[in-house]
Symmetry: C2
Subunit: 155 residues, 2 copies
DNA sequence: CTATATATTGATAATAGTTATCAATATCAA
DNA sequence: TTGATATTGATAACTATTATCAATATATAG
């Protein structure tokens, strides 16, 4: 039952595992080896990952872990704001870390699917102003710039 | 074969039907009563429409018109830029007129699904600048602000 | 006006990503 | 240790959309 080795004593700062465990407890959900492994493998990726890649890597480590559990766990991770979900490529979601990652929007090449991350403080400010103007409480936003990258333009 | 009554002589300005017919001819596609009816019924709606509403209204007028034809025709209308497709509500597309309609982005209430349209010239300008900075040729963008509207906040 | 090549149609099967169902099992607070 | 209940994996179901295909309609050339 001691599958949890992430509470080493020198760790003073809350990490993703602590946040996840706290969230689960708060919601009366349970800390399971499957949830731990999914978070571990998710964190081992850089940038944007899709379900397929996650599932593939999980299978290598534990072929018995079902895909339904992967979907379920990702949903919880999004709920507790450790993970952000995107749907850039129409119908197929991807995920990226959100914990201690600066907010950014995306530039997406429609040919090679490469993405570039950017921030623009003024745009963010104007978004808030627009919401105020119309009496909305802004919860989130989606801003994606679709174009063709330098590489793809050459071909 | 004379199902076309949209070429009245006093019509000097190109309308949606002319544009559509030209586009079809250009692509070696054919002008059919089904395509005409779909465009007519689409234009009879204001704002954003989904497939379901379109199909329902079409059925009233011609129950034999199949849903596949509706999907196919909408795709052509999007291709020829008479129509713009959105996927606000996750997995269910909606459509709106694009011909002679000013570009705008959307504020969306996540509770009642009401949308408000807005434009912000500076945001548009910054989007272009960002693309230039990263060597992208901007093709389109998606900007959706998700929030809670005044009405929904009261409840 | 034909005839002919080929685009279109409607019915329906297929697809893809995701969610629901359910009985067996695991977690965890008491 | 126990027991209430959350979780799991297998798989069926679901939803929006697309593909398939034989019958039919359109456009164009003769
Ligand atoms: Mn990102
Ligand atoms: Mn609109
Ligand atoms: Zn590219
Ligand atoms: Zn609302």
């Amino acid at each position: 039952m001691d599958f949890d080795n992430n509470n080493l004593s020198q760790n003073k700062m809350l990490n993703e595992f602590d946040i996840f465990k706290d969230f689960l407890q708060q919601k009366n959900l349970r800390w399971t080896p499957q949830r731990k492994m999914i978070l571990e493998i998710f964190l081992s990726f850089d940038g944007h990952v899709d379900i397929e890649s996650l599932h593939q890597k999980i299978q290598e480590q534990d072929p018995s872990l079902g895909i339904a559990t992967l979907y379920r766990t990702l949903k919880i991770l999004v709920d507790c704001e450790l993970v952000e979900a995107h749907s850039f490529h129409d119908g197929k979601k991807s995920y990226e870390r959100k914990f201690r990652v600066q907010h950014h929007d995306h530039l997406i090449c429609t040919q090679c699917e490469k993405t570039i991350e950017f921030e623009h403080a003024l745009i963010e400010k104007y978004q808030i102003e627009i919401c105020e103007e119309y009496g909305f409480t802004l919860k989130s936003h989606k801003m994606e710039l679709m174009g063709v990258c330098e590489n793809c333009r050459k071909e």
